[in-house]
Amino acid sequence: MAGILIFSDKTNLALELLTAANSISSSNGDIKAVTINNDEQAQALSEAGANVYRINAAELILADVSAVAAALGQAAAELGSDIILLSSNRRGKELAGRLAQVIGAGCLTDVNSLEAADGKTTCNRNALGGATVANQYLKADKQVIAIAPKSFTPAAGGSGSINDLSVEVKPSAVKLLEVKTKAGDSVDIEAAEVLVAVGQGLNSKDDLAMVEELAKLLGGEVACSKPVATDKKWLSEDRVIGLSGKICKPQLAIILGISGQVQFTVGIRDAKTIVSINTDENATINSLSDYVLTTDLHEAVKAMNAALK
């Protein structure tokens, strides 16, 4: 029976992959985990029940996708794993296609649920920019599946093992010159019960203050549409809701001045209650909302703050 191999650069995501692997292992065989130059992660995975194979080779850097794919390809061959689960963060997504090509596999990325039945591993992933959910499987002996962060809870408890694995490291044609850590915005909008999300309808950065006040009054966090973070740079990318941001399921989402294009709505459509405040009564977001208020968001936020204080 084909085995499963898991790898992520991030320990928390590797633990999620272990849960994902456990959920399909009865029909896909034993689970092995690979770590690269990360003993701490090896420890954490083994304590969560995984049989870990450590690759420790100083010349192998994660920034070299080609070399990492080559190393994982060798690991999969050596360990007899046909299904490889990666994390669908940026590092994992960039790796997925290359690794699939190395081992001649089919590949799906951004997968948010898995099911093993009838010899197939079926996956759900967003398609058409998030307008639809595609239910797909790979008709291939070898499969690389990249799992979206937070689709599974991290594995905990168990007793695995730690083993060493040596691979031949492919010579590198890239050089890592510098790593710049981002100024930390440690907000976790996925965990918030209430989100107040602003979009391009917000007039200026200064107006964020009253939005923050509203979020505070409601016991929630401020989130945003992508352009507010990437074009305007008013908020950090950690606060973006949507396809290339976070998938959030709060109890209450107040959406201010966001038009509701699919790449955004895919990240909020599982909220329990959605409120849209928009000057355009025909904004797409309104048809996806429970409460619709057609007005200027600035006026509405001021009035809400006054009423809630």
Binding site: A69, R90, G97, R98, V102, V174, T230, Q261, S287, A300
Partner: protein, 252 residues
């Protein structure tokens, strides 16, 4: 220097209607992926600074690509290299990657191949990485800025928690991040001239790839999620807060 920009033809997502949870593609115009347009813009900016750069747009898809690609020629690509066959429409990423890699091998002296971080419709982000492996080239993805220096590029890869400044030997493959620039809107004259720019069109059998062997992905269903929102129209902030209070959503 020769830069190739790989671009995918996609339906204009904003015009797709959903009926009975099914996406409807009838009469939806075709365009090129948004992030692919960022990649093209990045190439055209490099070209504007260095006249010796030639930008070729590369695309594999159905016959309609020949028309859709004019958008890229109008926006600054010098020429197009197309592999057209109706069997390529919706083909697996593995198949498209094999076709693109085979096409690149037929082109002379390619120095840099640009992709978007993901296609506009599927956003799976595999093709650039697969092509890099097929051609045995170095790659850097999620690039938010780049500079060409001699035989190499210095780029910034933006990850969730950090930026990596990387040097990548050329020829190499770079996938750019969504929104790294503002793609230009071509003028009417540019659009008119686009039709006259050189195009090399190959048929699938001219690249010697058996795409049937690379059809890995089977789609069981592709439906819009069910949505039954209340859509209560309120007239004032007071009425809104009253509604939210009655549901115990605020003031708990």
């Amino acid at each position: 220097m020769n830069i190739v920009v790989a671009m995918k033809q996609i339906p204009d997502l904003q015009q797709i209607r959903i009926r009975n949870r099914q996406p409807l593609f009838d009469d939806v115009p075709l365009t090129l992926g948004t992030i692919d347009k960022n990649a093209l813009e990045a190439a055209v900016v490099l070209k504007e600074a260095d006249e010796s750069i030639k930008v070729t747009v590369l695309s594999a898809g159905n016959e309609e690509v020949e028309d859709t690609i004019k958008e890229a020629l109008a926006a600054g690509a010098d020429e197009a290299f197309l592999i057209l066959d109706d069997a390529l429409e919706g083909a697996d990423s593995a198949a498209i990657a094999a076709v693109l890699a085979a096409a690149i091998k037929q082109m002379d002296g390619v120095d840099l191949i640009l992709f978007g971080e993901g296609s506009g419709d599927n956003y799976s982000g595999q093709v650039g990485s697969r092509v890099a492996e097929l051609l045995n080239l170095p790659q850097v993805g999620y690039v938010s800025s780049m500079e060409i220096k001699g035989g190499q590029a210095v780029v910034t890869r933006t990850l969730e928690d950090c930026d990596e400044v990387m040097e990548i030997a050329l020829p190499g493959i770079i996938s750019v991040m969504a929104g790294l620039n503002e793609p230009r809107i071509p003028s009417v004259t540019q659009i008119l001239k686009a039709g006259k720019k050189p195009k090399e069109v190959l048929e699938l059998d001219e690249v010697d790839v058996d795409i049937k062997k690379l059809a890995f992905t089977e789609t069981i269903s592709n439906l819009a999620p069910e949505s039954n929102r209340k859509k209560i129209v309120v007239k004032s902030v007071d009425e809104l807060l009253q509604g939210l209070r009655s549901e115990n959503l605020i003031g708990r």
